[in-house]
Amino acid sequence: MNMVQALNSAMDVMMARDDNVVVFGEDVGYFGGVFRCTEGLQRKYGRDRVFDTPIAEAGILATAVGMGVYGLRPIVEIQFADYIYPATDQLVSTAARLRYRSAGEFTAPITVRAPCGGGIFGGQTHSQSPEAIFTHVCGLKTVIPSNPYDAKGLLISAIEDDDPVIFLEPKRLYNGPFDGHHERPVTPWSEHEAGEVPDGHYTVPLGRASVVREGEDVTVLAYGTMVHVALAAATEAELDAEIIDLRTLVPVDIDTIVASVTKTGRCVIVHEATRTSGFGAELSALVQENCFHSLESPIARVTGWDTPYPHSLEWDYFPGPKRVAEGLRRAMED
């Protein structure tokens, strides 16, 4: 399966198992979503469990909260992560805070799916990676898969989770493990082992990172598309890098991070989002707080620039394998 099919399968499995699972969002019903992630679900589960909504992201989140309070488990799609901002208040002030403010009486077990990241010439409003904002909001979990197997397993975990989960889907990975070499064709997921996705129910737990490549020289903390870029960069820099796919940003898997950096003594953090106050800052602070005495060189951040995502210059913005490799080399210097 590619990632779109894996996500579709996760929703399919959960809708079949649990009558309380409903799916809605802009264009997700008859049409099956602009990225086709919900294709066939309306036909299979009916219009009152899978439906199109008005274009009002705040309305989508608000009704999802109300449904969650009733006892449903809504999965909502925000067409692009860039369009989640109108829903900020409903997310921050309500979904994230409901359990706390009602001391557990009312909850919002919502999964918010949103395609994120660039690389499709989407310009500043179809390319953003806003994860850092959600990680600052207590009460929200934030998840970003990097491959179809994880995508399905994590999405099922997110749907089953009793807390609101922001589930960001790196749209550049929908069809294959894009490693930043935009000049080359992408191999399809069918040729990748993580494209082997079971049909049925399984979970990949939230809060657990995955060491996608073991190494001794330097630790790379990455998630989403950047996992594949980091893999390419490590190979190209000929470094024995240990690459960690965080998968869940909150709660982050601190043990795996600390174990790795304690071992390697060096750390490079990679993300596509703008740098200042990106999630890389939190990771850097955590590594520094927990591994200070192991660190042999400064923790490096390789990230998107602090500019909007530019249309024609997107490959100059994107932290591709060359820039990541440079970061790795820098981390090896001191």
Binding site: V22, D48, R49, T53, P54, A56, A58, G59, A62, T63, A64, V65, G66, M67, G68, V69, Y70, G71, L72, P86, D89, Q90, S93, T94, L98, R99, Y100, R101, S102, A103, G104, E105, F106, T107, C138, G139, K141, D161, D162, D163, G207, V250, P251, V252, I254
Partner: protein
């Protein structure tokens, strides 16, 4: 080609400011009983005038008149009166408690008691309420213990919300009363979502959302009406127009050129505009809207036209922005006085019974307060352990919160 008049910004001003005499000349009050009551099966577009008038049942003499008269029995009326009086007594006590330093903040609903009480009585107790901060009367009408409410106001050791929430931000799943939000308007589209869920599950429970006229300006209001209209959600969307949003008169919210009820029409939703100080009118309107919702005819918007008789909250001083006498002279009167007059006119009430009831509710509140204070007040500082501060952020506490709790010494 162009007209050469220089453009001008229009900034609405209230009819009167402090130092001026209250001015109610802009108010159009139809006679009680004069507004027709269409069948609930009527198409919304045939009922548009109901958004521009005022449904009133109680006339000046205290008689219940016209097609909206819900013909309630005296027992029900007395229960309504008692609940409104209990609410007011509760408010007065809690207001004083705040002034005495027993808590940080309080908000009264004085003058607006009929809205919550009559609506609660006209609904089923299992119908879900998404309130604002001025519907404490609904909890009281549903028989929720005053002690429990006070525990919340005092943030004491028995506060079910563990002292986390500001006073008056009640929450009771058991009473089908949604957790009150600090961020205005958020609950309004949530009520629609809850109602949609009830429809998805072929349930028979409906929802009722509340919003102040000031907060209708938030996008959430628009989302609520849009989604309610699109999906035919079984929900009552109540707008409480108490003329003020803190210091801003309702013209600043967009009430100068239209009614708030009329907002509904553009979405194809029916709207009722009712005298919110008329217990019977609110009751009747609620029943009408609930009937529509329960028979899959969808949502109704109700504007409750009322007046915020006291300050916005204990942090507010209305004499800074409106004439001091405006409240007392409000042409639609006081809901308690009016229902009492009705019962009296019916021969079902007397000054003695009134005095007795007054003492009774005072005692009830006083007794509850004594109990609640025995669990502590914010002023005296008995509260839940700081360790509880880290609970309920998530269902299970993740490592970083566990570590932070340790940092705090727990």
């Amino acid at each position: 080609m162009k007209n050469t008049i220089p453009l001008q910004l229009h900034v609405p001003e209230p009819p009167a400011r402090p130092g001026q005499a209250p001015d109610f000349s802009w108010l159009q009050i139809p006679e009680a009983g004069s507004v027709p009551r269409p069948d609930t099966a009527t198409e919304p577009q045939e009922m548009r005038p109901l958004a521009y008038t005022l449904i009133r049942v109680l006339d000046e003499a205290g008689a219940a008149v016209g097609p909206w008269n819900p013909r309630l029995d005296p027992e029900t009326l007395r229960r309504g009166l008692r609940t409104m009086m209990l609410t007011r007594a509760y408010d007065e006590r809690m207001f004083r408690a705040q002034r005495q330093g027993k808590t940080s903040f309080y908000m009264r609903c004085t003058g607006e008691e009929a809205i919550g009480v009559a609506q609660a009585m006209a609904l089923d107790d299992r119908d879900m309420i998404f309130p604002t901060y001025r519907q404490q009367s609904i909890l009281i009408a549903r028989g929720w213990p005053l002690v429990d409410m006070m525990n919340q106001v005092f943030s004491n050791t028995q506060d079910r919300l563990k002292g986390r929430q500001m006073p008056i931000m009640y929450s009771s799943k058991q009473a089908s009363f949604f957790s009150i939000a600090g961020n205005l308007a958020t609950q309004f589209p949530q009520a629609v979502g809850w109602a949609m869920a009830s429809a998805i599950k072929h349930d028979d429970r409906i929802a009722a959302g509340f919003i102040g006229e000031g907060a209708t300006a938030e996008g959430d209001f628009h989302h609520a009406l849009t989604f309610a209209s699109v999906y035919g959600a079984p929900v009552i969307l109540n707008i409480v127009n108490n003329q003020y949003a803190i210091s801003s008169f309702q013209g600043i919210a967009g009430g100068e050129h239209s009614t708030f009820a009329a907002r509904a029409l553009g979405y194809g939703l029916p709207a009722l505009r009712v005298d919110g100080n008329d217990f019977l009118a609110v009751y009747a309107a609620t029943r009408w809207a609930a009937d529509r919702a329960r028979s899959n005819r969808g949502a109704t918007v109700i504007e409750h036209f009322s007046y915020r008789a006291t300050a916005h909250s204990t942090s507010d001083d209305p004499s800074k922005y409106r004439p001091a006498e405006e409240a007392a002279l409000w042409p639609l009167g006081d809901p308690i006085t009016r229902l009492r007059a009705h019962l009296t006119a019916l021969g079902e009430w007397s000054d003695e019974r009134q005095a007795q009831l007054s003492t009774e509710v005072d005692n009830e509140v006083q007794q509850a307060q004594r109990e609640a204070e025995s669990y502590g007040t914010l002023g005296t500082g008995e509260h839940h352990s700081p360790a509880t501060m880290f609970d309920d952020v998530f269902k299970e506490m993740p490592w970083h919160l566990r570590r932070q709790r340790q940092e705090l010494g727990f």
